[in-house]
Structures are given as C-alpha cells and as structure tokens.
C-alpha cells in the first residue's frame, strides 16, 4: 500500500470513527485521573482498576448471560479497588503512589491467576462467551453524510465517555462538592479550616475515579473486543494520567488530549500496512505522549515565569509609590 492510500484512509469517516473508539478507553480513566488529581490524591491505580473491571465484566457476563450484570459487576469491582486504595492512603496513611503500584501489580497477576483458575488458559478468555454492550444508531444523525458515519453506530461506552466528560465538568465547576474537591486539592489547610472534610472529599474522588476507570476497562473487553486478554489495558491507565496534564487539568482538555493519543494509536494501526518496521510504528502513541508532555511543561513554565515577573513588577511599583 502506498503512502497516499494511507493518507486518504486517515481522512475517511471510518478512520475517524475508529479514533473515537480507540480513544474511549483513555477518556474514561482520564476523567477519573482528573478528579483525583484535582483532589490532591492522584489515583495511579487506574491501570489496575481497568484491568480488573475488564476481567470481571467478561466473567460475570459470561456466567450470568447478562451484559447488564456484567457491567454492574465490572463497575463494582473498580469502585471496590479504589476504596481499598483510599483506605490504605487516607486511613492507614500509606503513600498513595506505592499503594497504587501495589494494586497495579496485584491486578496484573490476579487477573491472570483467576483467568487460569476459571478457564485453564493463561492468555485469554476465549472459552468464555462474553457479553457485548450494544451499539447505538441514531436515526437522524446516521443519515448525515460523513459525520453520520463517524458518530452513529458507536457502542454505548463511546457515548458514555462524552456524556461523562460533560457531567464531570458540571460536577467540578458548577456544584459545591466539586468546588470543595478542587479547594481540597489546592490548599487542604484552607479547606479544612472552612469545615470541609479533606479525607472524605478525597475518598469520594477516588471512588468516582474507580467508577469511571471501570468503564474504560470494560470498553476494552466488552465493546472493542469481547474477550479478556492478559494485560490487555497495555498502559492505558498511565497514558490517561498523561492526558490529564496535557489537557491542562480540565475536563474538555483532558478529553481532547485523550483523543490525540487515540489518534496516534489509530494512526499506528494504519501505518502498520506501510513498509515501516512495525516496532517503530507501535512506538508512535508513546512518542506522541512524551512529546506532548514536554511541550506542555515548557509552556507551563513560560506561563509561570511570566506570572511571576508581572507580580514582582506590580509589587515593586506599589513599593515605589510608598517611598
């Protein structure tokens, strides 16, 4: 396949639809990462939560025959894990990074172990018939040329990712609880003296992040594929955290950053058909992540320097006016 064929395929509706599909398991955990980051106790166990929920969802839906029960169980497992993390960090006062790493390792090994116990296979859940969440076709929109093919017919989690981004932004910026959460993250002492319970606020943030990340995990195993594979989240829980910072710690910014990473991922799939070593192509999403973060940080520093300079200038002036 030649280069211009690849180029043309990138601008096709099918490709853009696949970008949205691939971005979804980044957007959902990234929203969770955003909320916890703003609360001051960043959840780095997103990866483990996604993996656990992906596994639980497949297993429960396969044994119960109900997609709904599978999703419910997947969510419950994600929330439970973040509760455990919160309990370790907030109640027992362990370092949240260490507790998070422990959970990630446990989730990797634990899912493989249980997979083996249940199916006798250490690689994937082929022998289980997982449920699949439904796709949504929207009568009017699907008839719009191009756009209809991009956004209609996506599975329910894609829609959920956008709806939840909207809800999260309302929660964070339009409700007292979200305001308290942001205050706790920025200056816990200030919040505490104003009667806001710092630990409870952080726990709630962690539980919400577990809820969101669990959907990310199930997107992988119950929508994108209908099978659980070992380590199938492949670092998405961490890339999601990168998206939070790249997105300027804002809900819609985070969504866009996650889509950028999704785009890089989708691109690497497309370029796989070119005669470039596949190992090189597969590094694209990660290189994009690193580049994006470097650029973001440089910009942040420049903004900070500027603000500091302005502040000093202003202050020197007010001092001069006294003398």
């Amino acid at each position: 396949m030649s280069f211009d064929v690849v180029l043309r395929s990138i601008f096709s509706a099918a490709f853009l639809a696949s970008v949205l599909r691939i971005s979804t398991p980044l957007i959902l955990p990234a929203l969770g990462g955003l909320i916890t980051d703003l609360s001051g106790a960043v959840n780095i166990a997103l990866e483990g939560i996604m993996l656990t929920s992906a596994f639980t969802g497949v297993v429960v839906s396969a044994y119960s025959g109900s997609v709904f029960l599978g999703v419910l169980a997947g969510v419950a497992s994600g929330v439970l894990i973040s509760f455990v993390l919160g309990w370790f960090h907030l109640h027992l006062e362990t370092n949240i990074i260490l507790a998070g790493i422990a959970i990630n390792i446990l989730a990797t090994g634990g899912t493989i172990f249980l997979l083996y116990v249940l199916t006798g296979d250490k690689g994937n859940s082929q022998s289980l018939a997982s449920g699949r969440v439904p796709n949504i076709n929207i009568p009017l929109i699907q008839d719009i040329p191009f756009l209809g093919r991009v956004i209609s017919g996506q599975h329910i989690f894609v829609w959920l990712a956008f709806i939840l981004t909207w809800l999260v932004s309302i929660y964070l910026y339009r409700t007292p609880w979200g305001t308290h959460l942001r205050a706790v993250g920025e200056n816990p002492q200030a919040a505490e003296t104003m009667g806001i319970n710092v630990k409870r606020t952080r726990m709630i943030a962690l539980l919400i992040s577990g809820f969101l990340a669990s959907f990310g995990g199930m997107t992988m195993s119950m929508a994108y594929l209908t099978i659980f594979q070992r380590e199938m989240t492949a670092g998405r829980g961490f890339i999601a955290l990168a998206a939070v910072y790249l997105g300027g710690r804002k809900p819609w910014g985070t969504l866009l950053a996650a889509i950028l990473f999704g785009f890089a991922d989708a691109l690497s799939h497309q370029l796989g058909s070119l005669r470039i070593p596949s190992q090189l192509v597969q590094t694209i999403p990660y290189i994009v992540t690193i580049l994006a973060l470097v650029i973001y940080n440089l910009r942040e520093q420049a903004v900070k320097r500027e603000r500091r300079r302005k502040f000093q200038e202003q202050h020197m002036q007010s001092m001069a006016s006294v003398e």
Binding site: R174, T179, A183, A190, I196, Q314, M319, V322
Partner: protein, 514 residues
C-alpha cells in the same frame, strides 16, 4: 461589661515537653483592639490557636461570652463567632476572591452554585466593612494586601464577632499597613472585637486600646495602651532574670576576614527583606547579631552561605567574592556554617554520623582516594570527632537520626570546626538543645574565636548574644539599627530599643564601627 473572651490559667504542654503557656490569664473586652505582644517563642501563637480551636489547652478554661467552651476544631470556634487571619494565608490560589470568601458555605440554586449571588454577597460585605476587594479576581493575581482583606472578609462572612489577626503587618508594605489599621478601626466601630498579635511596638501604640505582654509563656502584664510607652513595653518583652556568664579571654582582633557591602534582598512576594546591609567581621572576634526573629537574619545567613541568591550587593571573604556562589564554593573560600535548621540544612538524618562528618570534604584528599572515598580516613575522623566533641554514640556508623538533639548539634559543630574555617557562621547554635550541650557549644565557639577564627553569631537568645559576642549589631526590619563595639558595656534594655526599632543610630555614627 463582662469580657467577651476570658482565658483562665491556661497551660499548654506539647507532647515533646515544650511548655508554651504557663498559667496564662488573658481577657478581652468587647469592642476593643487588644494587642498581644511578645518575642518569638513567647507563646502568643499557641495562645491564639487555643482560642481558635486548633490546639487544646493542657489545663485551664476558655470562656467565650460568659460560656465555658471546649473547642475541638477551628470549626467549633468559627461557630462560636471567632475568626482568625493566619500569618500564611489560607486561600485557594486558583479560585476567585468571591469563591474563596464563600468556600464551604456556597450559595446554591437547585443544587448548582449560584456564582452571581456569591459575588453580590462579597460586594455587600466588602462595602459594609470598607474592605475593598475585587470579587471576580483570581486570588493568585492579587497583591498581598488584598489577600489579607479576603481573609478578613472570609471570617466576617461566617459571622465572626471576634477577629484574631496573627502578625498581620508582617507581609505588608507601610501603605498597606495603614489601610489595614483604618479597616480595623472601622470593624471595631461596627461592634467587632479585634485581637492583634505583633512584636512591632510602633503598631501597638498606633492602633490598640489595651496591650498584653507575654514572655516565655507567661503574661508579664496587661495595661491600657495610653499608659504604656514603647520603652516600657520593650523592657517587659525582653527583660531577663539571669544573664549567663561565659569565661572568655579578651578579644585579639585580627585582620578583616569578611566584608558585606550594601546587601539587599527582595523576596518572591516583592517584600524588601534586607535593605542595604553592610558590616565587616574580623579574625579573633565574635560578632553577634541581635534582633527579634523574622527581621532578616535568616535570609542574611542564607545569602552569606550561598543558600539563597541576593538581589544586590557584595560580599568578600579574604578579598574573594562569595555572593551568589554555590555553598561549596563559599565553603572552599573558608566559610563554615552551623545552620539554623539543623534537621533540613545541617544533617542527612538517615546517613551515618561519619558520613555527615565528611559531606563538606569527601571530594578532596585525604578523604578522596582515586574515584572513591578512603573509608579508613573517614573512620579515623569519626572516632576522633566523637571523642573530642563528646558525641554520645556507640558507633560512628549509626544514623544521625539515632542521636538526641544536643548530640546532633555536636555532629554539626564537629564538622564545622574541624574544617578549619577562617569564618564561622553560627545561626541559632544552641536552639532546642539541652543545657550541657548548650554550654559545650558556647565554649567551643569562644575557643574558635580565641584561636583566631572570625565568628558571626546569630541567635534569638539575647542572653547568648550578649554573653558570647565581642561586638554586637542590632537588626530591625532588614536594616542594621545599631552597632555596639563593646558588647560587655551595653545593657539589654538598650539593645531592646534598637532591636524593636525604637532607637536608630545614624549611618555616620555606625560607619566607623561596622
């Protein structure tokens, strides 16, 4: 009228054994501005934290408006109508002024924030009390004066009748200070009561109705401000019962070792911390800096030792410029430093005693052998230091964290003295260590000076400065206010007047003596 706040026989003993308040009786009348003064460590802040519910008294009663209260958190105190403006502001930087004021009690409309109402209420309360703020400005972008007004409005928004202001002028420019005083008077006119913590006597005289002086955890006295003078208050603040005696032979002043020229430092918030500071230090003398803490001494030492960049000025050690050099370069020029905060700047707590003894010399012979460290030499130095400086430990390989405070300080003293310095800068060298260790450190300082080292001593303990120094300079608000070439002939009352900025020698008077 009965007092609005009454503290009866308050004792506060911290878990580490420090007794911050010893039987304090303190009462505040409704509608007055009551100044609470005392040196650092006199127990002012502890007392206010007790009123504000952040600390619980070990013993004693807190009575607010006639009712005995037991506050478990500041929330309880807020509910009882008490508000406090802390020295370091408790604001959320990315929030707007209005958002900060209503934080925790946001007005809502059908579950969502009502931002307009928050702004309206901010404007209303700001106009009522004459505290000018911009409701929609982001706190990060407003100046310190306005931040302080936001803090006061926060307390008022929660219905505070009693306002505690903890050293409110420490961060303000003179103009902002005047604005604050106007605002305080207006608050009192509207029936509020203000407790004003400070150690600036000028401000006490200017703004307060009554004043209470604390010293070493005890109340020295409460009197109407009209009956007080700055001199009488200064005596009450710094007066000491015993002056310790240190045996020392007369000083043999040698050549000039360090010259500090027109040093100025403006900090990140734009405040001038050091202003045109110049002095010299000579071999064979101890130069003491006397001053209430927070008047620029800490920054001065940090700049002199390379821990902090200066804004302008010059500093020479034996004619070699050392300003804005790295701490290692400064040390290589012959300066050693006993830092004020030994746990952060003085020692690596998890490293061994021996390792701590060589951190300033591991990179040069005889401790460096090829690419690695000669551990035989290190062990030898360790054993010698432990013996000579009486560090109580079975083994130099043990972590420093295993030592008591006094012995930790001995490790620092051993390191700084064995580096054979030309100039020794000792900041609070005996703070928080036991009597025996204190005596030892003082003796060693005198010994160094007698052996011909130039010594700069910065201490919050006036008795220490007076008994050890040969020459004393006083600092107030980042400036040198006086120099006393013969430390033995000056009284603490006299020093107190200069330390608190009441008296000030002229530049011409000081020039010869610095």
């Amino acid at each position: 009228m009965p007092p609005i706040i009454e503290l009866k026989a308050i004792y506060k003993i911290y878990p580490n054994g420090v007794m911050a308040n010893k039987g304090v009786n303190f009462s505040v009348e409704p509608g007055e501005i009551h100044a609470l003064v005392g040196e650092n460590g006199a127990g002012k802040s502890t007392l206010m934290k007790i009123i504000y519910g952040m600390e619980q008294p070990t013993q004693g009663q807190v009575v607010v408006e006639g009712l005995e209260r037991h506050f478990h958190s500041s929330r309880d105190a807020i509910d009882a109508g008490i508000g406090m403006v802390h020295q370091n502001f408790m604001l959320v930087p990315s929030f707007t002024v209005a958002e900060n004021i209503v934080l925790g009690q946001e007005p809502t409309q059908r579950g969502l924030l009502n931002k307009q109402k928050a702004i309206d209420e901010t404007i209303q309360i700001s106009e009522q009390y004459g505290l000018r703020v911009e409701p929609k400005a982001i706190v990060d972008s407003i100046n310190v004066g306005m931040r302080q007004r936001v803090e006061i409005l926060k307390a008022l928004y929660r219905g505070a009748n009693i306002l505690i202001l903890d050293e409110p002028t420490a961060v303000l420019t003179p103009q902002e200070t005047q604005e604050l005083f106007l605002a305080i008077r207006k608050l009192v006119e509207q029936g509020k009561t203000v407790i004003f913590i400070t150690h600036k006597l000028r401000e006490v005289m200017e703004v307060s109705d009554r004043v209470t002086v604390l010293r070493q955890g005890e109340v020295v006295g409460t009197l109407p401000t009209s009956e007080a003078t700055r001199e009488s208050l200064a005596r009450m603040m710094v007066g000491r019962d015993v002056l310790l005696r240190v045996e020392k032979p007369p000083a043999q002043r040698g050549r000039k070792v360090m010259e500090v020229q027109r040093l100025t430092y403006i900090n990140d918030t734009g405040r001038s911390v050091l202003n045109d500071v110049s002095f010299n230090i000579y071999a064979g003398e101890i130069l003491g800096i006397a001053g209430v803490e927070g008047n620029g001494q800490t920054e001065l030492v940090e700049i002199m030792t390379g821990l902090r960049p200066s804004t302008s000025g010059n500093a020479l050690v034996n004619g070699k410029a050392v300003l804005n050099k790295t701490p290692r370069e400064v040390r290589m020029a012959g300066v050693s430093h006993i830092p004020e905060d030994r746990l952060t700047n003085g020692l690596a707590l998890e490293a061994s005693i021996n390792e701590n003894l060589i951190v300033d010399r591991y990179f040069r012979p005889p401790y460096k052998k090829g690419a690695s460290i000669d551990y035989k030499q290190v062990a030898e130095l360790g054993a010698k230091s432990i013996e000579k400086y009486g560090i109580l430990t079975p083994d130099g390989e043990l972590p420093v964290a295993s030592l008591s405070g006094g012995n930790m300080q001995k490790v620092i003293v051993a390191r700084e003295f064995t580096s054979d310095p030309e100039l020794l800068i000792a900041a609070q060298p005996t703070r928080g260590i036991d009597v025996g260790a204190t005596e030892f450190v003082r003796e060693q300082l005198v010994k160094q000076r007698t052996d011909g080292t130039a010594v700069l001593l910065v201490s919050a303990d006036l008795g220490e400065v007076m008994s050890l120094s040969d020459r004393i300079i006083t600092m107030f608000e980042g400036e040198i206010t006086g120099v006393f070439p013969d430390a033995a002939s000056v009284t603490e009352e006299e020093l107190g007047l200069y330390m608190l900025g009441i008296k000030h020698q002229s530049k011409e008077e000081m020039e010869e003596l610095l």
